[in-house]
């Protein structure tokens, strides 16, 4: 049962994760400001809460599923090396990976 869920790919790449975080923070902060002003004007705090909940729902839809826009910068991994018996190979490989980042 759990393995079915685990098999669904939900990952984002690093830039996508940053974008998703900026998107939901922006949406919730904007809805909070709008809700605060609106609730202050009509003197009902309930509407403030509803507007923030609305922003929460919108940002859930936008950032929870891994939309394609969050996967535009996939990491370029090194191609898998064939298995070798010698021990000296892993060291230059690690330094290469750091350079690529």
């Amino acid at each position: 049962m759990l393995s079915i869920f685990k098999s669904i790919p939900t990952h984002m790449d690093y830039k996508g994760q940053k974008l998703a975080e900026q998107i939901f923070q922006g949406i919730i902060l904007i809805s909070a400001v709008i809700g605060f002003v609106y609730g202050l004007i009509i003197e009902q705090f309930g509407w403030t809460v509803y507007i923030v909940l609305g922003g929460f729902a919108v940002s859930c839809v936008l950032t929870l599923p891994p939309w394609p826009m969050f996967r535009r910068n996939p990491l370029s991994w090194q191609p898998a090396l064939p298995e070798t018996s010698s021990e000296s190979i892993p060291k230059p490989q690690e330094s290469k990976r750091k350079k690529n980042k």
Binding site: T10, H11, A20, E43, V49, F56, C60
Partner: protein, 192 residues
């Protein structure tokens, strides 16, 4: 942020923090408001009886009956008068008001006695203009002895609790109270 669950977690935590900040803002915008309102209390009739108080001391105690008129307009406060539906006392940090009329007086045994005679809950959207005539007290005005008879100074005050969404529970005393003397003799007619 790499899985749906971790994103949902941070989204939820952030929303809760924002909501807490908003609630604090709601509290701080209303915390320093002056909610006092002029109150007009007029006592029409005072009656005093000496009856057995089965709940208190095993003696006859003083029981007062007060008929009063009360007029108060709690929508007096005008800070943000933009809403047509709710009067400004019901700002966004007020759920309801609990009004109560209390009598304060001093006796030989106690320097300060406070008895709640009448109360009323005013919900959001209800009429905040109270204009009551010939009201009888809701609760018994029992003294714990014989301190009511010939008491020269019994003060009636209307106060109210403001029940907020967030923050403190302010207790507002209406400006305007009435002091009255109580009769020297007991009413003896037994008419129930």
């Amino acid at each position: 942020m790499n899985t749906v669950l971790s994103r949902a977690n941070s989204l939820f935590a952030f929303s809760l923090s924002v909501m807490a900040a908003l609630t604090f803002g709601c509290f701080i915008t209303t915390a320093f408001k002056d909610r006092r309102v002029p109150v007009d209390i007029h006592v029409a009739k005072v009656m005093l009886k000496n009856v057995d108080d089965f709940t208190g001391p095993r003696e006859r105690s003083d029981l007062g009956f007060i008929t009063f008129d009360l007029s108060v307009d709690i929508l007096f406060n005008t800070v943000f008068q933009t809403s047509n539906y709710y009067s400004p006392i019901f700002d966004w940090n007020v759920k309801q008001l609990f009004l109560y009329l209390s009598a304060e007086y001093a006796t030989k045994s106690n320097a300060l006695n406070q008895v709640v005679l009448w109360d009323k809950i005013v919900l959001r959207g209800e009429n905040t203009k109270l204009n009551l005539r010939d009201m009888k007290s809701k609760y018994f005005f029992f003294d714990d002895g014989n301190g009511l008879r010939a008491n020269k100074n019994i003060t009636l005050t209307l106060s109210w609790n403001v029940v907020p969404n967030a923050g403190i529970l302010p207790l507002v005393a209406g400006s305007g109270h009435v002091s009255l003397p109580f009769p020297e003799s007991y009413e003896t007619t037994k008419s129930y």
